[in-house]
C-alpha cells in the first residue's frame, strides 16, 4: 500500500526533526518528504494527516512470544501481528520458552519463524542454561547467532557468584545483561504487592524490598566487575528508581525500563481479585507509581517496555491465586503512554518517542532510523488526540489477558511501516 500523508507532524529525535511535512511512502520507501506537496500517482492513497504524528518505528525490548513451547498462548506470528497493530516495528522476545533460548538451534528456529514479517523480532538469550541460575549460557555463540541482549527474565539470578561470572564473561564483548530483580526467598508464591490490602485480602505479598535488594546488589556487582552494562527490567518500586538514579549520577552504565501497567494502575485495584491484574512484578502503590512518573521525567527510566505476557483464557479464568502472572501489552502501550504521559503533561512527544523507540534501540546498539528520500520506511504513524475504547476483539494477540478492556484512551496507532510492508491498525 502506498500512502501520501498530507501535512503530517514528523518527529525524529535521531535527526532533531519536529515539523510538518508532506510524506509519501511508496513500495516501502520514502518517496517524498518536504514541506511542499508532491504530485502523486493512482496507486497512492491520500491521507489528510493534520492530526497524525510520524515517528521512527516504535520498539519494545521486552515481550514474550512464547514460541517454542507455549504456542497456545502466542506465536512469533501472532505476537508480531499484535506488535504491528500496536504501532511497533521492532521487539525483543524473552528466553523463557520451552526449551529456553540458551542454544543456537532455538535462536535459529525463532529467527526463521519471524522471517518476512513487518515487525523485526529480535531475541534475548538466557544468561544461564535453562534459566536455572546455575551455569552461564554460551553467550558468545548466541551473540553471533543474533541475540541482542541477555536475561533470565521471569526468574532472577539470585546467586551472586553466578551473576558475577555473567558480568565477567560478558565483559569481553561488552554485552548488555538485564536482570529480573526479585529475591525469590522473599516472594515465593506471591499474589500481589505486599501492602495493607494484601493482608486484608489474605493474599501473599511481594515486598518491594525484594526487588530493591537485587537492584542494589547488581549495581554494586556491575561496578565491581568494571562498570559493566546492566539493564533493570520492569522496575516497579520507588526504591529501585532511587537506587538507579544514584547509580546513574555516579556514571555507572545502568539503564532500566518501566511497563505501562506499572505507571497507570495502583495495587488498590486488587480487591477485585481479577486475574488480569496479576503480574510479576505486581502492581504497586501510588507512591511507587509517582516515583515511576518522576523517573520517566528526569531520565532515570530510559525505556517504556510492555512485558507483553500472553496467557490463554482458560489459564487466567481460575482462582486468582492459581492464575499465572502476566498481561498482554503491545496493543495498549502507545495509547496508555499518550494518555497518561503526554496528555497529562508528564513527557513531551519527543520524550515518549525516545523512550519507546530511540532509547531501547540505542541500548541495543541498533542503527539510527533516518528519514531521507529513498530510505526504507521504519515508521509508526499515530493519532494524537483520537479517543478510543480498548476493545479486545480488535486485538491481534492470541491472548486477551488485559485489565485495560473498556478503558478510554486518547491517542492510538494508525499505520506501521517496516520491511517494505504496511499495517493499518485495527484497534
Amino acid at each position: 500500500m502506498n500512502i501520501y500523508f498530507e501535512k503530517i507532524r514528523i518527529i525524529n529525535p535521531y535527526q532533531e526533526i519536529d515539523a510538518q511535512f508532506d510524506l509519501w511512502i511508496k513500495n516501502g520507501r520514502i518517496m517524498h518528504l518536504s514541506p511542499d506537496s508532491a504530485k502523486t500517482d493512482e496507486d497512492t492513497r491520500i491521507v489528510n494527516a493534520e492530526s497524525l504524528v510520524c515517528s521512527p518505528g516504535l520498539f519494545d525490548m521486552h515481550v514474550h512470544f512464547r514460541e517454542p513451547g507455549f504456542e497456545h498462548k502466542e506465536t512469533t506470528l501472532t505476537g508480531a501481528e499484535s506488535a504491528a497493530n500496536g504501532g511497533f516495528t521492532g521487539v525483543v522476545c524473552m528466553p523463557n520458552t520451552e526449551p529456553a533460548i540458551d542454544n543456537v538451534p532455538v535462536c535459529e528456529y525463532i529467527a526463521n519463524r519471524a522471517k518476512g514479517n513487518l515487525v523485526d523480532v529480535f531475541i534475548a538469550g538466557a544468561i544461564t542454561m535453562g534459566r536455572k541460575g546455575e551455569r552461564i549460557s554460551p553467550m558468545l555463540e548466541l551473540l553471533e547467532s543474533g541475540v541482542v541482549y541477555f536475561t533470565d527474565d521471569g526468574t532472577c539470578i539470585t546467586k551472586s557468584e553466578v551473576m558475577r561470572r555473567a558480568f565477567d564473561y560478558a565483559a569481553t564483548k561488552d554485552i548488555l545483561l538485564a536482570q529480573h530483580c526479585e529475591e525469590h526467598s522473599l516472594t515465593d508464591n506471591f499474589a500481589m504487592d505486599e501492602s495493607a490490602l494484601s493482608y486484608k485480602l489474605g493474599l501473599k505479598g511481594y515486598p518491594t524490598v525484594a526487588e530493591e535488594i537485587i537492584v542494589s546488589r547488581d549495581i554494586r556487582l556491575a561496578e565491581y566487575c568494571g562498570n559493566r552494562r546492566i539493564h533493570f527490567s520492569h522496575v516497579s518500586s520507588a526504591g529501585s528508581v532511587e537506587l538507579i538514579r544514584t547509580a546513574k549520577s555516579k556514571g555507572l552504565r545502568v539503564s532500566c525500563e518501566v511497563t505501562p501497567h506499572h505507571f497507570t494502575l495502583p495495587n488498590s485495584l486488587l480487591d477485585s481479585y481479577d486475574p488480569n491484574l496479576k503480574m510479576n512484578p505486581p502492581l504497586r502503590s501510588d507512591q511507587d507509581i509517582n516515583a515511576a512518573i518522576e523517573g520517566l521525567k528526569d531520565g532515570t527510566i530510559d525505556c517504556i517496555a510492555t512485558d507483553h505476557a500472553p496467557h490463554s483464557l482458560h489459564e487466567k479464568e481460575v482462582e486468582y491465586e492459581k492464575a499465572p502472572y502476566g498481561v498482554v501489552g503491545l496493543e495498549t502501550s502507545l495509547g496508555l503512554s499518550l494518555t497518561y504521559l503526554y496528555h497529562k503533561k508528564v513527557l513531551s512527544l519527543r520524550e515518549i518517542i525516545e523512550k519507546m523507540s530511540v532509547n531501547p534501540r540505542r541500548l541495543l546498539q541498533m542503527d539510527d532510523i533516518v528519514f531521507d528520500i529513498g530510505s526504507e520506511a521504519n515508521i509508526t504513524i499515530f493519532g494524537l488526540d483520537e479517543e478510543w475504547l480498548v476493545n479486545k476483539s480488535n486485538f491481534k494477540s492470541k491472548s486477551l489477558n488485559t485489565p485495560f478492556v473498556g478503558m478510554k484512551l486518547k491517542g492510538k496507532p494508525v499505520f506501521t511501516f517496516n520491511n517494505g510492508l504496511v499495517h493499518e491498525s485495527e484497534l
Binding site: 493482608y199 481479585y273 491465586e321
Partner: protein, 309 residues
C-alpha cells in the same frame, strides 16, 4: 413475602457485606429457631431450594453445621469434598461451577483453599454464594456465630473488649471477626508473635497487645486461634514449645479472671494454644459456639433464601 433478600447484599462473601442491622436480623432469626426448635422439627424456609455444599478444602465442622442447617430448613442438599470430586481429575473451578449450576442449584456454600475463590464464584453465577472460608481471606459465618455467642453472654457489644490471640497473619477467622466485631461496636485487640502479624499494623485500626497476661487483664473475651500444623513446620515460629510458653492460654489465666469468656473456632490443639484443663472451665464456650453455629447458619440461609420467594 418479598422478592428482596432480607439482608443488604444477596450473598455473603466477607464480613463487611453485613451491616450492624443485618447481623441483628440474623441474631433475631437465630434466636427464634433456638427458642422454637424441638427434636426433629423442620421449617419450610428453604423448601424447593437446592443447596450445594461445595467444599474444595477438607472440613468437618463447618460442613456438618451447614448441612444440618439447610436440612432443618427443608432444603435439598448435595455436597462434595475436594478429594472425591472431579477437581482431583484436573477440572477447573469454573467448569465445576457450570456443571453444578446446570443441575439447578440456588445456594452455594463454598469452602476453598484460595483467597477470593468465593467472590470468583459469585461473579460467575446467578445463584447465592455463602463463603464458608476462602483461603486466608475470610470466614464470615464463623464470625457471626462467634458474635452471637458473645452477644448471648453479655447482651451487648458496646464497650466490650475482645482480644484475638494467635496466628493473625494466616487466619480467615481473625479477619472476619475483627471486621464484624468492630462493626458491632466491640473493641478489638490482637496478640501474636511478630512473625504471625501483618507488617501493616493499621489495616483494621486495632491495637496490639504483646503478651497474654496483659491481654487477660484487658479483655472480656479471649478468642484463641488454632495454630495450623503448617505453621509449626515452616519455621515461622521457633518451636511449638516456645509458642505455647508465650502465647498459650492456661487455666491459670482464667482463675485470675473467671468472668472472662473463651472462644475458639476449633478444632483445638490442646497443649499448644490452649491448656487442656481450660476445656472444663465454665466460661469456655467452645461447644456453645458449635450449637450456635447451626442456628446462625439456619438464620443466614433463611434470610438469603427470601430472594427466591
Amino acid at each position: 413475602m418479598t422478592n428482596q433478600s432480607a439482608l443488604s447484599k444477596p450473598y455473603l462473601l466477607e464480613a463487611s457485606d453485613l451491616t450492624k442491622e443485618d447481623v441483628f436480623r440474623i441474631f433475631a432469626q437465630a434466636q427464634f429457631y433456638m427458642d422454637d426448635y424441638e427434636k426433629g422439627k423442620k421449617y419450610d424456609d428453604l423448601k424447593g431450594l437446592t443447596v450445594a455444599l461445595a467444599f474444595f478444602e477438607p472440613s468437618t465442622r463447618t460442613k456438618l453445621s451447614f448441612e444440618l442447617a439447610a436440612k432443618r430448613l427443608s432444603a435439598d442438599t448435595f455436597s462434595f469434598q475436594a478429594s472425591s470430586s472431579s477437581l482431583t481429575k484436573g477440572e477447573s473451578l469454573i467448569d465445576t461451577l457450570r456443571t453444578i449450576e446446570a443441575m439447578g442449584v440456588h445456594i452455594y456454600v463454598v469452602r476453598h483453599g484460595n483467597s477470593g475463590a468465593a467472590k470468583f464464584l459469585q461473579e460467575n453465577t446467578s445463584g447465592v454464594v455463602v463463603n464458608a472460608g476462602d483461603g486466608k481471606h475470610e470466614h464470615p459465618t464463623q464470625a457471626i456465630l462467634d458474635a452471637f455467642t458473645i452477644y448471648r453472654h453479655f447482651s451487648k457489644f458496646e464497650g466490650l473488649r475482645v482480644t484475638i490471640i494467635g496466628d493473625i497473619l494466616h487466619s480467615r477467622v481473625a479477619r472476619s471477626n475483627i471486621i464484624m466485631l468492630k462493626t458491632l461496636g466491640a473493641e478489638v485487640r490482637l496478640c501474636s508473635p511478630g512473625t504471625l502479624l501483618p507488617r501493616h499494623k493499621n489495616i483494621w485500626e486495632v491495637e496490639y497487645i504483646d503478651n497474654v497476661d496483659d491481654a487477660v487483664e484487658w479483655s472480656d473475651v479471649l478468642l484463641v486461634l488454632r495454630l495450623q500444623h503448617e505453621r509449626m513446620k515452616s519455621g515461622i515460629i521457633p518451636s511449638v514449645r516456645e509458642f505455647s510458653k508465650y502465647y498459650g492460654v492456661t487455666l491459670e489465666h482464667f482463675s485470675r479472671k473467671p468472668e472472662m469468656i473463651l472462644l475458639h473456632p476449633g478444632p483445638v490443639n490442646y497443649g499448644i494454644e490452649l491448656e487442656y484443663e481450660v476445656s472444663s472451665y465454665p466460661n469456655c464456650l467452645i461447644e456453645t459456639q458449635v450449637t450456635h453455629g447451626v442456628f446462625t447458619r439456619m438464620a443466614l440461609l433463611a434470610l438469603l433464601a427470601r430472594k427466591y420467594k
